[in-house]
Structures are given as structure tokens and as C-alpha cells.
């Protein structure tokens, strides 16, 4: 099938090996750079998100015990694990098989899969006879997009299933039947990573069926549809718990405005231009149907992103970049009336392509967690009794587990637990109460001995430093400050009811 929007008549499966190899090297540099810069800034390897430390902790458990954990002894003060730890199992396997420390696996495995995914994507383009200019610009825009950088630099559940989907597609379009069977086998692994990838695989193979009318594509999508039925309960559960967008906060999906794995505004503008250009173009009706279905996929993924799972942004990015490439080519080839408008506009676009990843990589060096938070929690690790829980804001929960080896009261992975809502409500009351009796009862119930706060959380949660619980923290009869750096505070609870 040809995507002939800008076809200038040449054979479009022309290989450009030099560009490919050079770009592969460029991708390697761009994916390794964030971790190296972060290391240089902090004098130690600090992972890019607190979730990474969760993967690390469970991975270490698997290596030590040789089994997948069913119970997390630290999260939520101790809880049954909902997830099946397949991702952590993969990490542990890589570490054991290749004898690489788990920390390095967590840091560099995404990079490795990013490179392979890039290669698979390139070969897919060759298979689909994508025109050379389109191919090159797509890959450049993709590699410099913040979403791509986040996906393959930060430890997350998504990069392996995305690799599996790309591998499956490549094998599916092979001429040998054996490879198509192998493609199906790869699809069998995808459901272990979550319903999101099942949905994406289903939509993708439906798209292939629409374009090629191949019956086995329909079979693949029906198979994935059947698998999806088993996830309905989880989907409904996610829907009830997802924090819906605050549309008035403005920065909810733009990396330029601070969203960690967001789009760049530049690529969104190109995306809009590309959509307009493609749908205004008088092309053959089957391509129009292809584009309509792709937009349908985009809308479905957007709904999933808004209402179910923020990881859908990784798939949305491919579609954004796809139409963004059309927009980019349109801007390049547009008939400008005044010559300097052309030069300036192209200069501006190229500047954005160059500077966006530079700024994003620079901002990655300052991602949470900070060195100070880690130092403070490591200090807490040295306290006498690790059974006592640490009270903090939700986002610190996983970090508390890993560095202090203390249980937390709540963290980002607790939402599936039965008493999550009740506990969340109690915690929200705790933040703003000045009632020491309530605090006594709460701390006794959850076996809390320590309080961990940083300045950023204080500014986010409270309006001023005497509000609610912060007021009680200043009282020496209830709390003793045992750690105080510029930005991080740890208090020990010394008041007991009746004394």
C-alpha cells in the first residue's frame, strides 16, 4: 500500500542505510543522555520516577526469593498485590541471565528496547513502501518528541508491550507463514501487561484488516477482543478511580508546560495542520477510509487517556507524529508569497525540532525524586525499628518503601485495595486537622511513627505553614524534628494519648 500524498514518482521502498545508521546512533545518544546528565548532576544514579523504585524493589525481591510476590509487605502498610509483576519478572530475568545489576537493567533496558523499537518501526515503513522523505521526517519528529523520550528513558510498563506490538506487526507482514504464527504468539504475551495494549493491538489489526482485507488480521483482532472481555472488570474499576482532568489547569498534556510525558505544542500544531491537509487532499477513497479509522483510533485512545489510563499517551504520540509529518511536509512545500516568510518559518520549525528535546532532556535531570529526599529517607533507614510506618503525601509512598524500608500509609499503587477510599478520606482529614485526638487515633491505627514532608508538597497541599497538621508539627510535645535539610523534613511522633 502506498501513502502517496507526497509521492514524487520514485520507488518509495528505497533504502537509505546511511541515514538509518546515523539516526540509530543519534537515538542511542539521545536516550542515554538523560541518565548520564542526571548522574553528573547528583553524583549517583537516581531514577526518573518513584514508580521505577517500585519496579526495582519488586525485582530485587524476585531475584532474592525466586518467586513472584503476592503480598507487598511495605505498600499501604502491607497489602495483597493486584498486579502480576510480569514487568518486574522481566527485569529480574534480564538481570539474572546477563548478570547485570538490577539498577542498571532498570535504567538501560528502556533504552535497549527503544533502539530495537526504532529499528522495527523503520522496517515497517520499508514494508509499507512509505516515501523516503516522509519516513525520515516521521522518525526525526518521533525521536525528538518528549513522549518518546519519556517512554524509552523512564522505567515504565509500556515500552516492552510496545516493542512486542511492533515486533508482531513486522512478523505478521513477513511472507513466511512461520513468522506470522510467531507474531500471533507474541500477541499472546501482550495481555499480561494490561488491557491498554490489548485495546491498541485490537484497533491496529482492525486497521490492517480494513486496509488489506486479510482474514488473519481480522482473526487477530477478534482474538484480542475476546481477551479484552476478561479485562472488563479492571476497565470499569479504572474508570471509577481515574482522576478526571482538571481542564482549567491548562498543562494537563503538554510537556512544554510541565506535564512529564506530554506532547510538545509544536508537534500538536503540526498535527492539526497535518489533519487539515490530509482530509482536504483529494485522494483515493480507500486512503480516506484508512485516515478516518486512524482518527477513530485517536479518539478512542484520547478517551482512554482522559478516563482510564494516562499511558495511552504513548500510542497517541505515534498518531500525532504521523499527521504531524504531513503537516511538516506541507509547511516545507507551501508556496510562500514572500521569500523571507519561507526562510523564517522553516528556521523556526527546525529550531523547535532541535531545542525541544534539549529542553526536555535538561528538565529530566530535575525530575522527582530529588537527591535530598533520597538522603532523608536513607537517614530514616538507620532508625531502630523498621516496622513503624511513615506518614507522608501519596506521591512519596513508594520512595519511602524503597529507601527507608519502612511501610507507607498510602501510595500511588494502593487504589485497588478494598479500604483505599476510607483510608484516603482519613488521610485527607489528617492533612488539615488540628485535633490531636484524631491524630493519636490515626497514628495508632496505622502504626505510624514518622512524618516525612518536603517543601514542594507543603506548598502544593497547604496554603500556609500553620494550616492544619502543619500547626501540630510545630508543637514539641507531639512531634520531634529529627531531620531538617533545606527542603526536606522528618518528624518523629512522640505524643501518645493519655500521656
Amino acid at each position: 500500500m502506498k501513502l502517496d500524498f507526497f509521492n514524487d514518482g520514485h520507488l518509495s521502498n528505497e533504502k537509505d542505510t546511511k541515514f538509518f545508521l546515523f539516526f540509530l546512533f543519534f537515538i542511542l545518544i539521545i536516550l542515554i543522555l538523560p541518565s548520564l546528565l542526571r548522574f553528573a548532576k547528583n553524583d549517583q544514579f537516581i531514577l526518573f520516577s518513584s514508580d521505577s523504585y517500585y519496579h526495582l524493589r519488586i525485582g530485587e525481591y524476585i531475584i532474592q526469593k525466586g518467586v513472584l510476590p503476592e503480598f507487598d509487605w511495605l505498600s499501604f502498610g502491607g497489602s495483597v498485590l493486584e498486579s502480576n509483576s510480569v514487568f518486574e519478572f522481566v527485569l529480574a530475568s534480564f538481570s539474572s541471565i546477563f548478570n547485570i545489576p538490577l539498577l542498571y537493567v532498570v535504567i538501560y533496558l528502556p533504552v535497549f528496547f527503544g533502539l530495537i523499537s526504532f529499528v522495527l518501526l523503520y522496517f515497517l515503513f520499508l514494508r509499507f513502501d512509505i516515501e523516503k522523505n516522509f519516513r525520515r521526517i516521521f522518525l526525526i519528529l518521533l525521536a525528538t518528541s518528549p513522549v518518546f523520550l519519556y517512554l524509552f528513558c523512564v522505567s515504565n510498563y509500556c515500552y516492552i508491550p510496545i516493542f512486542l506490538v511492533l515486533a508482531s506487526l513486522n512478523l505478521y507482514f513477513s511472507k513466511r507463514r512461520f513468522f506470522r504464527v510467531f507474531a500471533f504468539l507474541l500477541l499472546l504475551i501482550i495481555p499480561f501487561f494490561g488491557y491498554l495494549f490489548v485495546i491498541f493491538g485490537l484497533l491496529l489489526f482492525l486497521l490492517i484488516y480494513l486496509k488489506t482485507s486479510k482474514r488473519d488480521a481480522l482473526f487477530f483482532s477478534i482474538f484480542l477482543g475476546v481477551i479484552l472481555i476478561f479485562f472488563i472488570k479492571e476497565i470499569l474499576f479504572s474508570f471509577s478511580f481515574k482522576n478526571h482532568f482538571d481542564f482549567m489547569s491548562y498543562d494537563f498534556f503538554l510537556a512544554d508546560l510541565g506535564y512529564l510525558s506530554g506532547f510538545s505544542l509544536f508537534s500538536l500544531v503540526l498535527f492539526v495542520i497535518g489533519i487539515i491537509v490530509v482530509f482536504n487532499n483529494n485522494s483515493i477513497s480507500s486512503k480516506k477510509a484508512f485516515d478516518f479509522f486512524l482518527i477513530f483510533i485517536f479518539l478512542v485512545l484520547t478517551l482512554i487517556f482522559v478516563f482510564l489510563n494516562e499511558n495511552a499517551i504513548f500510542f497517541l504520540n505515534f498518531i500525532v507524529i504521523y499527521y504531524g509529518t504531513y503537516g511538516f511536509l506541507y509547511v516545507l512545500k507551501f508556496d510562500y508569497g514572500v521569500f523571507f516568510f519561507r526562510h523564517i518559518t522553516i528556521f523556526l520549525i527546525l529550531s523547535c525540532v532541535i531545542f525541544m528535546p534539549i529542553f526536555y532532556i535538561n528538565s529530566m535531570t530535575s525530575f522527582y525524586p530529588t537527591k535530598e529526599a533520597i538522603s532523608a529517607l536513607s537517614f530514616l533507614h538507620q532508625t531502630e525499628n523498621n516496622d513503624f510506618a511513615v506518614f507522608s503525601v501519596q506521591k512519596h509512598g513508594i520512595l519511602i518503601n524503597y529507601f527507608s524500608n519502612h511501610p507507607n500509609v498510602i501510595d500511588d499503587f494502593s487504589y485497588y485495595l478494598d479500604d483505599y477510599l476510607q483510608r484516603k478520606q482519613e488521610i485527607d482529614t489528617m492533612y488539615y486537622t488540628r485535633n490531636i485526638t484524631f491524630v493519636d487515633a490515626f497514628f495508632k491505627k496505622y502504626n505510624v511513627k514518622y512524618v516525612f514532608l518536603d517543601q514542594e508538597s507543603i506548598k502544593e497541599m497547604w496554603l500556609h505553614d500553620n494550616q492544619g497538621f502543619l500547626f501540630l508539627l510545630k508543637d514539641n510535645t507531639y512531634f520531634e524534628k529529627i531531620y531538617d535539610s533545606e527542603n526536606v523534613l522528618i518528624y518523629k511522633y512522640i505524643h501518645e494519648s493519655g500521656k
Binding site: D256, V331, F341, L348, H464
Partner: protein
């Protein structure tokens, strides 16, 4: 300009009338501005400080030790440099009164040119340009204040004029003229980008216009696409490269003045139609809404879609309190003038059509008188009212006396507790630090707002003194304006032994804190 000069090389009658209107508005503005000493808004004193700094050191103030007890500004410097240039010839006070009040009414010319371009009806264009010089909210915000919007609004209108011109020209037949207006657009757009971040509003307007054109099935020209592409990418590049740290820290609120949401909901009043009518003028609002309704539906000329897009964009931004009420009304007021031009065009065409009919000639006189009278009642009187209210905000001689006293008698580095409206004034007159002022761009700490309110509303010494200690403040300024700001009586704790009355001038008081808060370190 070709077409506006007759065979004898003299400006045509209509343009001469526009010039007279411009001159009259200018004279009225200058008379009002020069009849008072000082400026009404606190931000004017921020501008004065910037201009003074440029005149002295050649660069604007980036890090300010006085505002919020120390902060960094993001500065788009064109406005300050223009004023600083004129400071070479005139005293700074005069420059800041004269230049903005001469530049702001330039919009009258532009509205006239737009009117002629759209309707070819010089009478309607004349009448509308006259009305555009008397938008109550624009007058009240720019006569007694040094406001960047004196420059922004005329530039905005110039860009719209260029767009309207380009939408009517044929790329091939009128190539030279197309080139000329594109270059003009380029120059004005770059200027606006370096002047104020409301250039982003202009780019948003372009996209809304495209959307409206698409919905209405109207074809956009190559020139419009070219300018939109250039504008969009320039703004992305300019703001995301130069303002990147600000965007990362403060999010999208940077675009609309950088006012954080907790201040927005505290100070930005809700958009209400009634108050809009007073601030814009009842006639412009009613006729503008009528014209908007009439021209929203059905096939229209491209310039109608442009105007409709502008108005709708402003209404949406106002409704969601993305921009402040007064700022939104300043834009809305000027754009509505162009919209109601379409209404007047119809009216004047009707009268011209019937001009040979004697009874219609009489009716024409009646209607024109009615429009002039209703305009005077609905725009001129509210303008005078709002100007009167603004005049009251100008620092009184009592306040200036206290500010001067502070400069001479209070040690450098002292922190003064004062309402935000006094912040930059104290920095300008007294060179002293304040907790908060009205330049809210990039403010992160919501606690200051609450603390300040507490300091002025509490009667408890034990509540107030820790707050003084928190900010290292030693002085508090109290006046009738502070009581008005917080709707409170005189804070009674200042009568205690912990405070000394340093000086007083009628109803303006300056107190000094004597007691220190003792804290026990853990």
C-alpha cells in the same frame, strides 16, 4: 497613503475629520492626565521604575529586591525602552503621561481605515472611529495609568487591518500590494511579540478564524495561511524558547499575564453583562451583540468571520476567567466598535439611499441625533464616572507624604506591610520592600495573600505578630484604602504597646512594630 490624498495633495475631507477626532481625543486625554500628579494604578509605578532603571543603567530591572521582598521579573522590554527613549528629552513623569495618551488614540485612525476597507462607507467609518475613541474601560485603564495596552491595542488593530486588506487582495493581480501588507504585518507582529504576551491571543484568534471559515465553508487565501503558519511557529518558538523556564514553573497562566489561579479567583470578578455594558458603553454592547447575532448565521464576507472569531474568542476567555475582566473588556470594547460598524453601515446606506426624500431627510437628522445622544449617555457619562473612580486611586498628598517620610526615616532593607495596591508605589517613592504588590506575574505563594489579609483584619496581637516575624516586617501602613480593600475596620492590635505610631497624615498612618516574636528552636 494613496487614495486618501486628493488631487491638490491635501488630505481628503474625511481623513481630516478623523484627524480632528484624534486630536480632540488626544487633547482631552492629555488634559485629564496632566491635570493630576501621579498615576492611579500600582503597575504604573512598576513601569516608572523600569523606565528609570533603563535611563540610568541601560537595562530593565530583572531582579528586584523590593517587590515581594525579592523576585525576578520576566520582561518584554519594548514598551519601557520606547518610554526611556523619550525620557532623554522630557522628564519621566511627563513622558509616561504624554506618550501613552498620544499612542492610544491612534486606534481611531485604524478603525476608520478598517471601516472604509470593509464597508466603503466613509460616514459609518467616521462615526465608528469617533466612538472607538471613547470606550469607557479603555479610557479608565489608560488615561491616568501608564499601561502597555496603550500600545498593544493599536498594534492589534493594525494587524487586523493588514489581515482584512490581504483577504481582499488577489495574490497575482495585486502582488505588490500583497507584498507590502505582508511586510507590514511582519513588522507589527514582531513588534507586538516583543511588547506583550497578548500576541498569543492574536495567534489564537487566527486559528479560531480558520475554524469558523471551515465551518462556514469559506475558503482561506494563501496569504492567510502563510501568515498563520509564520505567526504560530514564531510564537511557539519565541515564547517556548525565551520563556521556557517560566512555562515549566508556572504553566499556561504565563500566557495570560502569569497571574496564578488563586489570585485570579480572588481578584478577577465574574464576567457579567451589566458591568460590561457600563464599561463598554450600552450602545456598543447592544448593537455589537445584535450585529454579532445577525452576522453569525448565513454566508458572509471573510472580514465578518474575522470579527466574529475575535469577539467569540474574547467572550470565551472572559467567561472562563482566563484573562482579567478589565483586560478582556479593553479588547472586546475595541473589537465591538468594528462589529457595530456593520450596523451603522446598513443605517447610513439606508439614509443615503433615501436622501432625496424630504421626510427621510428629517428622519435622518432625528436618527443621527438619537445615535449621538445615546452614545453620549451610554459611553461618555460612564467614561467620566470610571475616570473619576480611577482618579481616586491616584496617591493623595497625604500618602505621598508618608511614602517620602518612609524614604527618609526608615532604614534601608526594612519591610513594610501594605496592601498590594501600595506595593510598587512604596518601592518607587520610598525604595522599601513590601510583602506583596499588584504585579502578580509568576507569584507562587498563595500564603502571602492570606497572611496579608489576616494582618489587616485580625484584632489579635498574637495572630498578627508571628506574621510580622515571618516576613521580617517592622512597619505597617494603614489608610482608608486599606480599610476599603479588606472591608475591615482599623486593626485594633496596633493600639497595643507592641506598636508605635511613627507618623500620621490625616487618615494615613504608619506604625512600627516594637515587640519581637520569641520562638523556641527544636
Amino acid at each position: 497613503m494613496v487614495g486618501y490624498i486628493n488631487n491638490k495633495g491635501i488630505l481628503k475631507r474625511e481623513l481630516f475629520v478623523v484627524f480632528l477626532i484624534f486630536l480632540s481625543i488626544c487633547i482631552v486625554r492629555l488634559f485629564l492626565a496632566l491635570s493630576v500628579e501621579g498615576f492611579s494604578s500600582d503597575n504604573s509605578y512598576y513601569v516608572l521604575r523600569q523606565v528609570e532603571h533603563i535611563s540610568t543603567f541601560g537595562t530593565p530591572i530583572i531582579h528586584d529586591d523590593l517587590s515581594y521582598m525579592g523576585r525576578t521579573y520576566f520582561v518584554l522590554p519594548v514598551f519601557y525602552y520606547v518610554l526611556a527613549f523619550f525620557d532623554l528629552f522630557l522628564p519621566i513623569d511627563l513622558v509616561c503621561k504624554i506618550i501613552p495618551n498620544i499612542v492610544a488614540p491612534i486606534g481611531i485612525f485604524i478603525v476608520y481605515f478598517i471601516g472604509v476597507e470593509i464597508t466603503k462607507n466613509k460616514d459609518a467609518a467616521l462615526f465608528t472611529s469617533f466612538m472607538s475613541g471613547i470606550v469607557p474601560v479603555f479610557l479608565s485603564e489608560t488615561v491616568y495609568s501608564v499601561s502597555v495596552y496603550s500600545f498593544v491595542i493599536p498594534l492589534f488593530l493594525l494587524l487586523i487591518f493588514c489581515l482584512i486588506k490581504l483577504s481582499k487582495l488577489d495574490d497575482l493581480r495585486d502582488a505588490k500590494e500583497v507584498r507590502f501588507y505582508k511586510i507590514l504585518y511582519f513588522v507589527f507582529f514582531i513588534l507586538l511579540s516583543f511588547l506583550h504576551q497578548s500576541v498569543i491571543l492574536f495567534v489564537l484568534f487566527l486559528w479560531v478564524y480558520f475554524l469558523v471559515s471551515f465551518v462556514e465553508g469559506s475558503k482561506v487565501t494563501n496569504s492567510e495561511i502563510e501568515l498563520t503558519l509564520f505567526s504560530s511557529f514564531f510564537v511557539i518558538w519565541f515564547f517556548l524558547i525565551t520563556m521556557k523556564p517560566l512555562f515549566l514553573e508556572y504553566g499556561a497562566s504565563v500566557i495570560f499575564g502569569g497571574v496564578p489561579h488563586f489570585i485570579r479567583y480572588y481578584f478577577f470578578t465574574n464576567f457579567t453583562l451589566l458591568e460590561s455594558m457600563y464599561k463598554l458603553g450600552i450602545i456598543p454592547v447592544l448593537y455589537g451583540l445584535y450585529s454579532l447575532f445577525r452576522f453569525t448565521f448565513g454566508k458572509q464576507e471573510k472580514y465578518v468571520y474575522m470579527l466574529v472569531s475575535l469577539i467569540y474568542l474574547m467572550l470565551v476567555l472572559l467567561w472562563f476567567r482566563v484573562i482579567s475582566f478589565n483586560l478582556g473588556l479593553i479588547f472586546l470594547g475595541n473589537f465591538l466598535m468594528i462589529v457595530i460598524l456593520l450596523h451603522y453601515d446598513f443605517l447610513f446606506e439606508f439614509f443615503n439611499f433615501k436622501k432625496n426624500n424630504k421626510s427621510f431627510a428629517f428622519l435622518k437628522v432625528v436618527f443621527v441625533s438619537y445615535y449621538i445622544l445615546s452614545f453620549i449617555i451610554s459611553s461618555v457619562f460612564p467614561s467620566l464616572t470610571y475616570l473619576g473612580l480611577e482618579k481616586e486611586k491616584i496617591p493623595t498628598t497625604d500618602e505621598i507624604y508618608i511614602f517620602q517620610y518612609m524614604k527618609q526615616n526608615i532604614p534601608n532593607g526594612s519591610v513594610v506591610v501594605a496592601i498590594p495596591d501600595y506595593g510598587q508605589k512604596i518601592a518607587y517613592f520610598s525604595n522599601k520592600k513590601t510583602i506583596m504588590d499588584s504585579y502578580y506575574f509568576g507569584v507562587k505563594e498563595s500564603s502571602r495573600l492570606i497572611d496579608l489579609e489576616k494582618m489587616y483584619t485580625t484584632s489579635s496581637l498574637s495572630t498578627a505578630t508571628p506574621l510580622f516575624d515571618k516576613y521580617g516586617a517592622d512597619y505597617i501602613l494603614i489608610s482608608s484604602k486599606t480599610k476599603l480593600a479588606y472591608n475591615s475596620t482599623f486593626p485594633s492590635y496596633v493600639d497595643s504597646k507592641c506598636f508605635d505610631l511613627i507618623t500620621q497624615k490625616n487618615d494615613v498612618f504608619l506604625f512600627k512594630l516594637k515587640c519581637k516574636v520569641v520562638t523556641f528552636e527544636t
